[in-house]
Subunit: 217 residues, 2 copies
Amino acid sequence: NRHFVVIGLGRFGSSIAKTLYSLGNEVLAIDTDEEIVQSMADSVTHAVQADGTDEATLKSLGIRNFDVAVVTIGSDVQSSVMATLIIKELGVKYVITKAQNELHAKILYKIGADRVVFPERDMGVRVAHNLCSSNILDYIELSPDYSIMEITALKEWEGKSLRELSMRSRYGLNVMAIKKNNDINISPNADDIIEAGDTLVVIGGTKEVSMIEKEQM
Amino acid sequence: NRHFVVIGLGRFGSSIAKTLYSLGNEVLAIDTDEEIVQSMADSVTHAVQADGTDEATLKSLGIRNFDVAVVTIGSDVQSSVMATLIIKELGVKYVITKAQNELHAKILYKIGADRVVFPERDMGVRVAHNLCSSNILDYIELSPDYSIMEITALKEWEGKSLRELSMRSRYGLNVMAIKKNNDINISPNADDIIEAGDTLVVIGGTKEVSMIEKEQM
Ligand SMILES: Nc1ncnc2c1ncn2[C@@H]1O[C@H](COP(=O)(O)OP(=O)(O)OP(=O)(O)O)[C@@H](O)[C@H]1O
Ligand SMILES: Nc1ncnc2c1ncn2[C@@H]1O[C@H](COP(=O)(O)OP(=O)(O)OP(=O)(O)O)[C@@H](O)[C@H]1O
């Protein structure tokens, strides 16, 4: 398995560190806050109190030997940028850093970050779509071009088979799963009949998906 | 369209407010910080500087007439709980509140929150899965029972058709889309051939999806 170092153990960073560890990876977790480090001790391989912007400390922790570094220092943009730069210079192949805004992201890419994430912004988009219509249970943009949506069967879909509904030609959507009560069928048949209360998980172009969404608002 | 009020305009709250507004809804955004309120003025219907725990102010803003309230006050757990309680008592039908941890979530449900979200935790899980294997581009838990994964075609899949691969019987997965170069085909055929560099978007039981994932680590 791969070796990960996570610097900055806020809500987001600690969730990443704990999940990586539970999947069987080696995880070194670093934070300046002693209390946070203590609370993480049983959920990662090693938890160390240290400053992610202190080059000498990072060298002595052998950061250069890690496959991936995750920098999730939040409100202190300067520390986030400095930690990313130092880790990249120490030779870590893949560094992923959390950004506060577009400007922060631009600086991070310029100094060598391999990937930048905006966790609050992305989750905000997903939750906002969920709230827009009571029929839409979930909405996830997999890429700017295509999205996945969980939608409760529309009135006009009830009692019809997938073949009759011809989701592809009418809406540009592909039904990948149907949830009836608590069962989920991930290989729906053209002859499957949609009933009231069913939930369809569909994939389609972001434009097509948002057209159906707009109709439901 | 529906009327939304968003209280607490941090990174997460402001992302929700802006997305709801861009989808055509009426959005009232509230925060105690005057500067933040100013910066949101053009991205929502109304932005108001106010304290979300002040019942008299919320009454005078007509909060009871909103369909949905979103409470995204972060580190101040007491304010988050008080704002949720007051809004529920004013008669708002659906209140969704962000929680810092499980205990906070428990209190929120007890006092009447309709839904509680953990944006940092959920995104942390998704990003950690992405980091585990270079083949896995994305991993999303749609529910505890089933997940979606974007995976780069495995060596042994190259040159084979979906029919030959029989993803359903061998892995318990359904291929919902295939990405070749920048094109995405959301209605894959059993005779489609998988080539090196293709990305498959698959859906399956969370256990089945993580079995494939573990093999890739
Ligand atoms: N130089 C540093 N080295 C190591 N850890 C740091 C450093 N600076 C800040 N941190 C830690 O980073 C963590 C995250 O920072 P902060 O709380 O500002 O971000 P946040 O974006 O609110 O976090 P989240 O949203 O993930 O909870 C904190 O636990 C903090 O102690
Ligand atoms: N009583 C209140 N009424 C209205 N707004 C409030 C109140 N208390 C705090 N806020 C606002 O809530 C917003 C979010 O709070 P805070 O920054 O603590 O959370 P956060 O979890 O770090 O946010 P995020 O991760 O979304 O950036 C802040 O802009 C703050 O001004």
